[in-house]
């Protein structure tokens, strides 16, 4: 009898005082985080976004560029902190110096950026994008800004099921909102984190992390065309990031 009462008391006390949110230890950030979007749902949302992206942007027909992105991307993904998703790398037929990551590990690099950077520099850019996925920056951005119904609508549409109650219109609206979010800059903290992870992964994959600085400087130097600055619109704080990288890279190489 006393045992039962104690059991009930213990259960009630733990139910009251333990946190109600599920936290997940994220090895990329080293923090316990609250993530409501599970990996499979994130991938399904990504699939929805990919099908819309490929309607608007042409995938590059340059086989050697595609292979270069894929091979380098795989090398980096093999050493990254998040392995529960399959990273997919693709090149878009676009001269703009830009790269983007969709939810679920779908990473796109424009032809312009592929051609402007050498392998070590590209490794940093790809590592940076992988870093956003590994640190779950995109998932956090989505769950903070989009209603869960819209996200689930996109996920089920990506699975082939009829998405939300509004059907195709709702899905298109969701994808537009998602692109809008992806086009917004990440927070300063997220950028620094993705940079740190980018150099970490490029170093672990056998590339020189020092080329991270030259990659950013190259993109900045070629910025006579205002379009080129788009990279810095979605990946801002260039000067500060270069400064931070100069501190991070020697520590990384010394490990």
């Amino acid at each position: 009898m006393v045992g039962n009462i104690l059991k009930v008391l213990l259960f009630s006390v733990s139910a009251l005082f333990l946190s109600g949110c599920s936290t997940l230890y994220n090895p990329a950030t080293g923090r316990n985080e609250i993530i409501f979007i599970n990996t499979q749902t994130e991938v399904a949302i990504g699939r929805s976004a990919v099908s819309e992206l490929t309607k608007k942007h042409k995938v590059s027909g340059n086989i050697s560029l595609q292979e270069r992105a894929r091979n380098m991307g795989r090398r980096l993904a093999d050493v990254c902190d998040r392995r529960d998703i399959e990273y997919r790398f693709s090149v878009l037929e676009d001269k703009e110096l830009n790269a983007m990551t969709l939810p679920g590990g779908f990473i796109y690099v424009n032809e312009g950026l592929m051609k402007a950077l050498n392998d070590d520099e590209l490794a940093y850019v790809l590592g940076h994008e992988i870093g956003h996925v590994a640190a779950r920056h995109i998932a956090k951005k989505l769950q903070a800004n989009m209603s869960y119904q819209m996200l689930l609508g996109l996920a089920f549409a990506g699975l082939g099921a009829k998405g939300a109650t509004e059907g195709a219109q709702g899905v298109a609206k969701g994808v537009d909102m998602l692109y809008g979010l992806l086009d917004l800059k990440f927070s300063r903290q997220d950028e620094y984190e993705a940079d740190r992870l980018g150099v970490k992964y490029s170093y672990k994959a056998g590339f020189s992390p020092y080329f991270a600085i030259s990659a950013l400087e190259k993109i900045k130097e070629k910025g006579t065309d205002p379009k080129i600055f788009r990279y810095f619109r979605t990946h801002p704080y260039a000067e500060d990031r270069i400064k931070a990288l100069k501190q991070v890279i020697p520590q990384m190489s010394a490990k």
Binding site: S22, N38, Y148, F156, T165
Partner: protein, 120 residues
């Protein structure tokens, strides 16, 4: 006398209600889809996320994670839900859809209890 009878009858009804309530299967209604909660599931908290557009309902139950996962796996399977995800280590993480209702379910151990979260 009549008044006394009324009081006794009222007490009887109240007891019946308490009695049946204690043994009724607790449920959650998510957009018209009835989702059962395991016996003994205690409501823990309701949160609003994503600029107050989404809801997270959290329950705690004094049963093993395995039992709760099996309970929901068979419920979703038997009731024709479309499922994205499933078992994750010892727990369960999935997004489910039936008719127009879509929501996510997370089940995991927390100390001595099992936590069940519904997000929509």
């Amino acid at each position: 006398m009549k008044a006394k009878m009324r009081i006794v009858f009222f007490c009887f009804l109240l007891l019946c209600r308490v009695w049946t309530g204690a043994f009724a299967q607790p449920i959650l209604d998510i957009f018209g889809v009835i989702v059962p909660l395991p016996y003994g599931a205690a409501f823990r908290q309701k949160e609003r996320i994503a600029s107050d557009t989404s809801t997270v309902m959290t329950y705690a139950v004094d049963a093993s994670v395995t039992k709760i996962v099996e309970f929901y796996e068979s419920f979703f399977k038997d009731n024709g839900f479309i499922i994205i995800g499933g078992r994750q280590g010892d727990g369960f993480e999935a997004s489910v859809k039936k008719d127009d209702a879509m929501f996510a379910v997370k089940i995991f151990a927390q100390g001595a209890v099992t936590i069940i979260q519904f997000i929509w």
